[in-house]
Symmetry: C2
Subunit: 108 residues, 2 copies
Amino acid sequence: MPRSFHLGEFEHLVLLVLLRVGPWSSAPVLIEELLRHTLRPPTRGAVYRTLDRLSEKGFVTDRSEVGSPERAGLPRRSFRVAPAGLRALKQSRHLLLGLWSGLEGVLD
Amino acid sequence: MPRSFHLGEFEHLVLLVLLRVGPWSSAPVLIEELLRHTLRPPTRGAVYRTLDRLSEKGFVTDRSEVGSPERAGLPRRSFRVAPAGLRALKQSRHLLLGLWSGLEGVLD
DNA sequence: GAGATATGTCGTCTTTGTATGCAATCAGGA
DNA sequence: TCCTGATTGCATACAAAGACGACATATCTC
């Protein structure tokens, strides 16, 4: 997939979930949302790795907040979908919608 | 993703395309259809490997026809989506539709 | 402090994705 | 019939993605 922008399956999910929960969310929040939608509980390691990769690709922007102990358990790292990430999401969506078109009956 | 049924990104595409082109299609036909929908030209090797894996997982059924030289260049191996494959496709679709819901404006 | 809980990192392994190249098959013409 | 080139199937090798689990660090409560 060296073709620059192809999202892996899990990368796709993580990116989508990040878009849902909103800008500057932390990994635990993403994990919680993932759990709500899929039944599989992803390990934190998997999520962080994926976020790293998405970050390297420029699909998400991340920032670390060191000195803001506002509330209990405040995360140090938060993420948001970058423009390129949004583009990739749109692209995947269009592709799938196109492939599904005409199969509505078969696929429920 | 050892979780039995998770489709990889490309596996998903190949399975979907197989569903589109119809039961007992050959790899070249799938490749052609893939080209029509995605802009990336997958190599034959990639498609065959993916079909092998889908077959191992029970998502596609394949058969080899040896003695049917009906027409020019008739393929020897053809594939169809197995029930488990259809289930996996439905599942992926439901998941994505769920994650997209509410984001229509953002994702076009 | 001390213990419990929450958060982030990393090494390692398995699974997927991709490219390359060889072997077999087949069509069509010399 | 025997080349020749195109098509098809597959093995091999390797890169990227996904997953797990152990470890480290922080934070809260007491």
